[in-house]
Symmetry: D2
Subunit: 471 residues, 4 copies
Amino acid sequence: MKTMREIREECGVFGVYGTRKENVALLTYYGLYALQHRGQESCGIAVNNGKEILLHKDVGLVQEVLTEKIMDSLGTGNMAIGHVRYGTTGNSGRANAQPLVVKHLKGTLSTVHNGNIVNAFQLRHALEMDGAIFHTTSDTEVISYVITNERIKKPEIEDAVLSAMDILEGAYSLILMTENKLLAVRDKHGFRPLCYGVTSDGTYVIASESCALDAVGARFIRDIRPGEIVVFEESGVYSIDDNCGKAEEALCIFEYIYFARPDSVIDGYSVHKARLRAGAFLAKDHPVDADIVVGVPDSGIDGAIGYSCASSIPYGTGFIKNKYVGRTFISPAQKMREELLKIKLNPVRDVVSGKRVILVDDSIVRGTTSARIVRLLRDAGAKEVHLRVTSPPFVNPCYYGTDIDSKDNLIACKYSVNEIARIIGVDSLGYLNVEHLPYIADETGTKKYCTACFTGEYKTDIRNVHKYCFE
Amino acid sequence: MKTMREIREECGVFGVYGTRKENVALLTYYGLYALQHRGQESCGIAVNNGKEILLHKDVGLVQEVLTEKIMDSLGTGNMAIGHVRYGTTGNSGRANAQPLVVKHLKGTLSTVHNGNIVNAFQLRHALEMDGAIFHTTSDTEVISYVITNERIKKPEIEDAVLSAMDILEGAYSLILMTENKLLAVRDKHGFRPLCYGVTSDGTYVIASESCALDAVGARFIRDIRPGEIVVFEESGVYSIDDNCGKAEEALCIFEYIYFARPDSVIDGYSVHKARLRAGAFLAKDHPVDADIVVGVPDSGIDGAIGYSCASSIPYGTGFIKNKYVGRTFISPAQKMREELLKIKLNPVRDVVSGKRVILVDDSIVRGTTSARIVRLLRDAGAKEVHLRVTSPPFVNPCYYGTDIDSKDNLIACKYSVNEIARIIGVDSLGYLNVEHLPYIADETGTKKYCTACFTGEYKTDIRNVHKYCFE
Amino acid sequence: MKTMREIREECGVFGVYGTRKENVALLTYYGLYALQHRGQESCGIAVNNGKEILLHKDVGLVQEVLTEKIMDSLGTGNMAIGHVRYGTTGNSGRANAQPLVVKHLKGTLSTVHNGNIVNAFQLRHALEMDGAIFHTTSDTEVISYVITNERIKKPEIEDAVLSAMDILEGAYSLILMTENKLLAVRDKHGFRPLCYGVTSDGTYVIASESCALDAVGARFIRDIRPGEIVVFEESGVYSIDDNCGKAEEALCIFEYIYFARPDSVIDGYSVHKARLRAGAFLAKDHPVDADIVVGVPDSGIDGAIGYSCASSIPYGTGFIKNKYVGRTFISPAQKMREELLKIKLNPVRDVVSGKRVILVDDSIVRGTTSARIVRLLRDAGAKEVHLRVTSPPFVNPCYYGTDIDSKDNLIACKYSVNEIARIIGVDSLGYLNVEHLPYIADETGTKKYCTACFTGEYKTDIRNVHKYCFE
Amino acid sequence: MKTMREIREECGVFGVYGTRKENVALLTYYGLYALQHRGQESCGIAVNNGKEILLHKDVGLVQEVLTEKIMDSLGTGNMAIGHVRYGTTGNSGRANAQPLVVKHLKGTLSTVHNGNIVNAFQLRHALEMDGAIFHTTSDTEVISYVITNERIKKPEIEDAVLSAMDILEGAYSLILMTENKLLAVRDKHGFRPLCYGVTSDGTYVIASESCALDAVGARFIRDIRPGEIVVFEESGVYSIDDNCGKAEEALCIFEYIYFARPDSVIDGYSVHKARLRAGAFLAKDHPVDADIVVGVPDSGIDGAIGYSCASSIPYGTGFIKNKYVGRTFISPAQKMREELLKIKLNPVRDVVSGKRVILVDDSIVRGTTSARIVRLLRDAGAKEVHLRVTSPPFVNPCYYGTDIDSKDNLIACKYSVNEIARIIGVDSLGYLNVEHLPYIADETGTKKYCTACFTGEYKTDIRNVHKYCFE
């Protein structure tokens, strides 16, 4: 249950390239709306209308920031890019919102970014030594600087990006917009997803996830390959693959388990199916005699169904989530805090009362939310609660664009599985076996993933990662 | 799928009676938040602080109308009532919002109402003949007038309400607040639900549905009986049952099928279980060879699970609903309208592609939404689509507080089941057999319901129901 | 300086009657905007579009409440009425906002009212005895009841109003809107102003003050006479004067001194000229040797110019008022409160420094604001400060629609002129001589006024005025 | 009358330096509120709390942008700077809002700027050649770059600013905030005003105009001298005057005539007194036999009083300005546009009717507003209208921070005085004689001003001023 937002994806990106002036801003709006789960703190759209770049970005959900009046002011154009960003606290939110639009010697560059540059601190310091000033604390501004500085020396933006890809280390799925081109760029490891499609009007659409292509009625064409640059320009679409195959593939496995929407297909594998399979592995690895399998909404549901199918224990709707929750909801005062969960998430008493319940969730971070949910089930009369988790224990920080950062906050760094079970208050606890991870999306186990948060196997050099990079 | 809002409940009511001053407004806020599904047009809270009634109501969701600033202005008190109301269009929204607070000869009367008075037009005309003026077009103002006019002649509010119950015909679950009492009143037929409970602090809580008691951490005590008045006052809680058993019980069966939240228990029967059972009946009555059962979110999900269990055909997550939808979402222009559904509801391709799909929904009104959803499945590759509906066909208007009003808009009034199947584009169509209706909630079939919209068997005289009553 | 709002007018009214559908709401908007000085708490517009009455009213300034979206929703029509209301505190603001629209036996009646009914309590009690319920605490609802109850017995609204005028005692300038007529009504004493005019399109416009006719480009026709009903209907405009001349004329003299805008002409006399003349009287009655005459913005400016002309002491701009003040301005915390005045009102140092200053203000209520303004002058270097007030001392409450209510708050009830001078910190203090009052507007002294707040000579029986009437 | 906003100042700046943590943000809020007349498009505040810079800026008035919630989020600190900016149209508003906060090699630099850099285009191009990227189109970002690039080479910010002053050409009154210092900087010519003072708490306050010092209760100390840097730091306040006396003084004379508030004192001369004197010069140069002198509110009022005193023709209040105007006011449609002026500005009929009127205004730009105001007077019955203008004709663009930019829009570039009189519809027209300009503020005529817009005598080389500089 992520109403507590224990882990957050950093971003979702979206881009549109049309052959004539049209409402590219509205297409981007719908695309961002479909990607809203990837970031709820801020969002923005930049439209290229052939004469200038019109930009609006602010703190808030897509529907809050991009009002009808704002959308009108963005007008029409033949290119646009958009971004949703996750929530940090504090005043930096608006300054760090994207797209980032900068003017440089050879024009204008607009950038949206999903990921995290691990050598951003070093790059930034070097730039400052040369006189650069920064308006934000975001690594996206570093990316812009690196690309525009390469651009001074190169005849074309493509060349500048190719060079920049040798300088930038870490995770980046980018969409870049110049005066007359759109570029979709995925880092050499392919840490974060990125794909594109085309609408029936022939308008190209680029998105973090395929569900955003669906949302705008576009036909999926293919994923951008790790290391690839796909260029959208007047003469057509072409691929620059000089950097492809230069590094080990490392798509974030947690995209399948939690970040992505179940109706998305990433690098050829269905997110929904991966979750079912994770549930099925759990049923095999951690069987238990029980009456009902329930999932923690929303991301535990598919795992629960998978567990149920594999175990033949019936699946049930364990909780009703209040769907009217919003930003302005008044939270209960401290003394009522324990009740908060029930306001947002209420167990269905007759499903669990008197039952031995298998509860499926996608992950455990601190354990506090899990403990509360378990208590809800017990209060509703569950006789036993067996927690099954569709991921292995988190034991390492992530440097590639999520906020699983500190070992101090990870319950699995401090306690054994048995201890965690006791803390959370469950009768048994089973995590997904780490060996099954490669098989949840690709049954054959051929595709390679980044599983560093579970295994500690980082695909880039992280010895010099500076704290700065997590701001 | 009710994102198209084909049918609407008219209201949800909530009340709090405490023995000392406390934040009754905030309790009401949480209660209304849990009842938001019963009405999204307007809402309001009236607080009795011992000296005066503070009221705020407006058009909008609970979180939009009842901001932190407004909640602060309502202060503390020992009684409060609140209301959520469904959406009509036009300017009348704010005027008709509730609670309705009126001053009369013997004090102040605050009223919240769920239901519909079928003789409101006649009562209103008679009152106007006597010089009454009306500020709203709502039957709630008629109720207030009838009760306060009785009150002039009676020593106590309870007596006035008892008399008024002989005058008011139709559906009404009321909470009334006077200077020092709270009254929960349910019409003689018990058309609409109403129950009460108590918090660990000893504060009494009244609500349309038990899920709202859960939301505020209150223990469910019991349902208000049809015809009963339950009085909450300083000396305690007592029941006036003079009007109980005077009319045939007639709880709206559609509360179980669609209106109520699955985690609510109404008149002793679980809403969730009733939906499972409706799905199971469908599996028995309209079996079909298929690969997967999916439900239309949110209210078709339980029916699909019930169908799956009874048929042993696997249950799957057929659709992902975008959960960030809000009031300010910019709708696509006409030419993109067909895509709208995908923005809000996207099929999970790998669940349905190449499959024979059983699609479970709660009802069909006009059929247009169903047709669109079916098309989504076909576009996503479903080989066959078999629609199963957890209610019988709508063939009659409802006069008791929902907006199933005109035969012209009911597809089942104009077409046979086969024709509807063809119009909607499904391979087969099966409705819940009307004979099973009495068994979905109460397995023994003992409890009596209002099923007029399906059967035409009205429990009150509707020959003189005036069009006015549906405003 | 009324940024402290020591005295408040209760209301401004505006009405439009056109012969064809047009944007009557927008005309009303501009009219209310010109009358905003008569009430800043709440406002509203009711439009009659031939089929129904569309109403919007709320707490706030005209521009805050009547947004473009709201104005669009009010549509076109051939009649509209509007209202601005002064500021009370608390939650009652919205409930008591006007227009008041009620449905009665013979149709709909929409009312806007400026004034105060002195027998409202008695009338209300009698109505309640007959079963009436009230939604507001405003005497406007009593007016609506009295008129609609008369209407039951009478064939036409005009007859009902004529009868009602014998029942309603006190001050009332009303605009009433029925299905097909607009009525402008002024009480028999003519306490509050009311006039009408016509636009070049032939649309009739009724307003509290002539400045609102100017604002909509209407030509002033004449004032409504005390006791008169002017009816605007399809066949034309006609006057019912049965109640004219039945009571002593008693226009509130304070309209000239403070309430009305200087560019308005009331009952034939210029407000601006009346203020100049009041200043001139002060120069004659309370001469003093000085270097400069300055006025307290905005309502003391004209008095200062009048004093200057009559005394030949130069006039100067003594203060600059910050014109960007708004509702959301953050007030300084207590310790900075003394500085507040300077933020909003800053003396022009070189005008007053080293000078003997004559300061002209329109009135003194509690004296606290005057004291602060005097201190500002002294801090800016004024050698002497001589305060001249363009009204006599307030010594009695007003029952006719202003909030000069309690003797406890009136400094002149407790202290002599000399004591007040000392308290306020001025070198000399001179009030307008009460004998000059009748000559400030009408030089001949023929016109009769209500001067009760200064003289105690009430024109209606106030022995039974109930506290209720001032809510 | 500047409701038509024919000319606009570009900015107002404000800064606070305290010796301990306090509510510097609130002080800045009040300071900006007092400077609101210098810019209504956008505003912002940056607070230095010893650990980080908290910034908020947006499009809107001070009260709209800096809400209580935002102010709370800015917290306390010992330094803050703030800015108000004038209104351009389009999306660039928010991006160009100030303060501009940048991170550079040696820390953070926050800048607010009033003025215009005439060689900004050249500087920007050179920076871009070196790899710089720009986020805004504002010359303030160029200033930040120039200073931070100098900073790399210099040990202290003061040295960097001294060097930068040799690079930056044009008008700039700056407040710079570093980690531990506040710097007030005025360009060598002193085009724009800048002064500082101290509160009774010992907190230093810097402002564009002295009225802002008054607003926060600070005692005026002195103006910053042209070319001077005043440094506020822990050890005290000190002045760097290396650049003083290096260029001809050139305070914008139009600050006295129109931009500044009359209660401000600039470089030792009272704005109010300068306006009176300009009016008096007009009386001498362009006498006419008339009955009344009136001023166009607000900036023509003082000129009118000055004319009246010098001519002994009585002064009168010619117009009433509606003081409730705000951003959300709904403007009349085209066909009613002519009436717009009356809504906002209504003549006082009895002051002007039948009179020979002398109308005093501060300037004529296009002439359209003047023509409308003259028509208002004629419609109100003025027999003659003689327009007197307290400035000479505009015939040249301004490059120093106002928007008098194009000769095409200046009526005086195209027509003779007689022709303008005919176009505007006045009986006679008299401008301030250009020879009197140097004497309006400083009676001795010693002080030097920039009068380029009237005389064409620019104090900097303007041959290479690029169009870019006016964005």
